[in-house]
Symmetry: C2
Subunit: 434 residues, 2 copies
């Protein structure tokens, strides 16, 4: 441990956000002279790709989240603080957090993304997104309550509306959510309800583009579509939702009566990016240079979902996935480490993204995966999906428990996490806009 | 499955509450001609003895809770409904639930208990109790946030108040909570905080009686006290709290500055018991006859924590523990089953409680247990505690995961469930009365 006096004279690196980008940036600075502080408004790192399994009662939040302190506790030069950064002052090189101001020499903005409703923020109450643990628990609560209410609903039309689930957005999250809700309705729940047949539930997946998961190879998208349709999911391609209410969604003239609408259609940067006073793209992401820094402020980096960055290798945008954030976190840590040693090169090396592949779960024992030129599907894809996702989870205990849960749920068609939490007096109707 | 017409002519048994009492009553009626409906305002059965482990980040809610539907799904004559029963009309033989009225031929009230503040309901906001999953998550949130705040608190006095935990009530729950918070502070968290020494946290257990756990044998209570004191818990016996605020507790003239106060001092019946219009005891429990029924209404039984019942064998009160509810649930089911067969005896057999023992966790690898005349403590007691509690958990998957968690936490000194959930913008200070 260094003394307090020398700590204060050390160059100060502030990192905002404890997702993959922020964590990798912090860890990459472990052996430097920097004094690092990582701020997050949550005390945990969250593995977002598995959030849909929390939403569909397969996993608990603690299975996919891990305390940031615990991850970084061996790193003496890094403090972790719970706090919401409300603004960034580029001129003064300070951030505002928890009512105070903190100075930095280098700043890494890794604040991630939130759900975007494309200007229709009024949809949020009727159609929760899936970006946080609380979002996932809210979706879970709504899904489970829908069946509870349908069980005792005597009106046929109302009952069908309660048993209709609309998912807006056909990317990996929307697709995975649709498949998992269908499985819940058709495999897990039928025996538990005596007055309704939960297999009558409708799951409708609405996608604006002409195919699912546009970020993945076309043959896999078609394969996933066939599997989902066979399972009973109704897929609407080339379709845009024109209105969302507590009663359902409108698609032009058509109205689909549905009490359960979930939004997986788009993301945008966090509000703090707007306080930088620099150019943002349409999705409120910060436009960064080929070194992930602000063109006018090389001491400020923006990485991961918060940034609109370009892969210097291919000229393509860096995708908003865990690998994009991890690689950018490692990259900016290397740049800062080099410069802290006093080696300020004329120009920094540019960021090159290495595509390690992509995968998405389609249904029970079925996933698609593109790893280089290898395209996998079905059970082999599912095994690959489970293996890769478990390996990325932090904590050996977490890995074991999640693998056990997956195995158990697969074999037994069950879900371990079917609790409706929150105040029981808040009836589901009160939470929906009418 | 019987047809709708015959179903309606069947005698109708309504059970309120899906705890141990309600579940056992429902299961005991499986082979009868009755049409059973079990109402609960939660969709899950909760194993309350392990709630303190949810509160102290050791287990997740789903480890100790299980969907009531799933437990009863093979029982064709039993429906499960989510709903809050707001009143009971003994004359009309109807309950009011979810805005409607439902008739019964037999009623089993198994609504359990809630925290009692002995007339000081204003303490509730400052000193949450531990009776529900939401209570447990609130305590967990406060405990974890206390360390987060202390890490950045510069004022020495304020920091110590943030790191002081007062538990009011020295029964099993209070004792277990105190031991677990002490362990968290002294074993799990020290490495994770760089600016504070979490081992400086004070845990103060306040007990009105002259010893801990008055329901257990005296030698075990003394043994537990020694273990807790050795671990650093400050125990105040013969002590009554005279005031509770957001800044601490008063004990007569003395004031203990503490931002974290938890209440484990007493329980009372649920509000619905008051609508019966019959005699209640001081704790709002319904006074029942030796057959667990209302003296004037033999078709209405009250069991478990909702009842003030007497063991016909010993003349002692039936204790408010899981075994009391389980045995009463089995007992009333037998009475109803007999009477449904048309055999109405002149007098019912009286309820006799079989004491199967009691146990409480004291600390890491240490528990006390009284089983008949055998008194266990230390590691053997801990093994017995783990074995018995795991066996009572519902669901084989739950058992395996909980045993794994306990083993893992024991070996690694870790806690898997250290997430602070809820809205991050709600700072802890706003939630405490000042």
């Amino acid at each position: 441990m260094t003394s307090q006096a020398s700590a204060e004279s050390r160059p100060r690196v502030v990192i905002i956000g404890g997702g993959f980008g922020g964590l990798h940036a912090a860890q990459g600075l472990a052996k430097t002279a920097a004094k690092v502080t990582l701020y997050d408004r949550r005390n945990y790192h969250l593995f977002q790709p598995l959030l849909y399994q929390v939403a569909t009662a397969e996993l608990e939040p603690n299975n996919i989240a891990f305390p940031i302190r615990k991850i970084l506790n061996k790193q003496d030069n890094c403090d972790v603080a719970l706090g919401e950064v409300t603004s960034i002052d580029l001129k003064q090189r300070q951030i505002s957090v928890n009512g105070g101001r903190v100075s930095y020499d280098y700043l890494v903005v890794a604040t991630g993304a939130r759900q975007s409703y494309f200007g229709h923020d009024e949809y949020r109450a009727c159609a929760p997104g899936l970006k946080s643990v609380d979002d996932a628990l809210e979706i879970r609560r709504r899904v489970l309550l829908a069946f509870e209410e349908a069980e005792w609903e005597e009106d046929e039309t109302s009952r069908q509306a309660k048993l209709t689930f609309v998912i807006v957005g056909g990317g990996p999250t929307g697709m995975e959510l649709a498949g998992a809700i269908m499985e819940l309705a058709s495999k897990t729940l039928p025996d538990d309800f005596h007055n309704i047949d939960t297999r009558c539930a409708r799951v409708i997946l609405i996608q604006g583009a002409d195919r699912l998961v546009p970020g993945m190879p076309e043959d896999l998208a078609h394969r996933a579509q066939r599997v989902l349709e066979k399972a009973g999911v109704e897929i609407r391609l080339n379709t845009l939702v024109t209105e969302v209410t507590g009663e359902g969604v409108a698609i032009g003239e058509e109205h689909i009566a549905a009490e359960n609408i979930f939004w997986a259609a788009g993301v945008q940067g966090q509000a703090v990016s707007g306080t930088l006073g620099v150019d943002l793209d349409r999705s409120s992401r910060v436009l960064v240079g080929p070194d992930m820094a602000l063109p006018e402020h090389p001491e400020v980096f923006v990485i991961g979902d918060a940034a609109a960055a370009t892969d210097a290798g291919t000229g393509n945008p860096v995708p908003g996935v865990a690998q994009g954030a991890i690689q950018a976190g490692d990259y900016v840590a290397r740049i800062i480490a080099t410069e802290l040693k006093g080696k300020k090169p004329d120009s920094r090396p540019t960021f090159r993204y290495h595509d390690k592949g992509s995968m998405a779960m389609v249904g029970r024992g079925n996933a698609i995966a593109a790893i280089g030129k290898t395209h996998l599907g079905g059970f082999i894809g599912w095994l690959a999906w489970n293996f890769v996702h478990a390996m990325f989870l932090i904590g050996f205990g977490n890995k074991l428990i999640v693998i056990f849960e997956w195995f158990w749920n697969y074999v037994r068609h069950t879900r371990q996490s079917r609790l409706i939490t929150g105040d029981p007096e808040v009836h589901i109707k009160d939470l929906r806009c009418k």
